[in-house]
């Protein structure tokens, strides 16, 4: 797992996760929804959404054992000290959580699951967050 899995394997595998959850439980694969259940119910009373989140963490554990570990944190640790990076990540996390809840989903809930069922709101949300993220990335690049 030291090398990035080829996109033509990784992409379909990710898509099949959406199909599998729908076929098994008739549920939407949505990471923000999974986090939400943790916030709503606390760690002791998790349902399927919360257990999906535990699974994602477990998938990370498996990769951590066999894959290559992350060195630093990309452009942030290249340009800033640890206290700034932590503050930026907390602030960005708030935007991610509040924004995704407002929009009814994130990259998985709207971007994958919502678009795959041809939900018009997900088309709008996905175009908006991809457009915004590309724009913000270029702005950051210009300012650094």
């Amino acid at each position: 797992m030291d090398q990035q899995l080829a996109w033509y394997l990784a992409g379909p595998a990710l898509g099949l996760c959406v199909v599998a959850l729908r076929w098994l439980l008739n549920e939407r694969l949505a990471a923000t929804g999974a986090w939400s259940e943790l916030v709503e119910r606390g760690p002791a009373r998790l349902g399927t959404r919360g257990w999906l989140l535990i699974g994602v963490i477990a998938g990370g554990v498996v990769f951590g054992l066999f894959g290559s570990s992350l060195d630093g944190y990309g452009y942030l640790t290249e340009h800033f000290g640890a206290p700034v990076v932590v503050a930026v990540l907390v602030a960005a996390g708030v935007l991610i959580g509040f924004g995704a809840k407002t929009a009814g989903g994130c990259t998985s809930g709207n971007g994958l699951s919502g678009n795959a069922i041809l939900s018009p709101a997900s088309f709008v949300a996905t175009a908006t967050f991809f457009g915004t993220a590309i724009l913000v990335s270029f702005v950051i690049e210009a300012l650094l």
Binding site: N26, V56, G74, S119, P120, T128, F129, T132
Partner: protein, 154 residues
Amino acid sequence: MKRLAAFVVGAVFGLVLSWSGMTNPQVLRDGLLFRDPYLMLFFASALVTAFVGLRLLKVLQARTLLTGEPVAWTTVRPERRHVAGSVLFGTGWAVAAVCPGPIAAQLGQGVPWALATAAGLVLGIYLYRRSTAGAPSATVKNARPSPVSASASP
């Protein structure tokens, strides 16, 4: 059993998100800056696979394997909140160079920075819930039948 199924799907999801580099901020940033086509190819191929798979379930009138209920879903009409929320989400996504699924996978990998992003994410969800407490659920109010039945009407 349902929780175990969700856990297993989540584990595969988390492993794929990790192995594809979505837990590496550099990979995501290179994708958003069009330095590397991986992100877009990965996302597009995932979407096409999910679309085809869900269509098959619909066409075959599949029932869920664990509950036996018919596989069905509802679509949502676009509203301002989908744009406004996605502007906020897209900004956070670009700045942290990570989204909610990979944040969980990073925690599993033992990436210490993910603690900060996860704390912010939980706070953001909490703030949203507080700001909408008592308001009727917009999702339910504006849900409409699945595209199959919707397309049958003019």
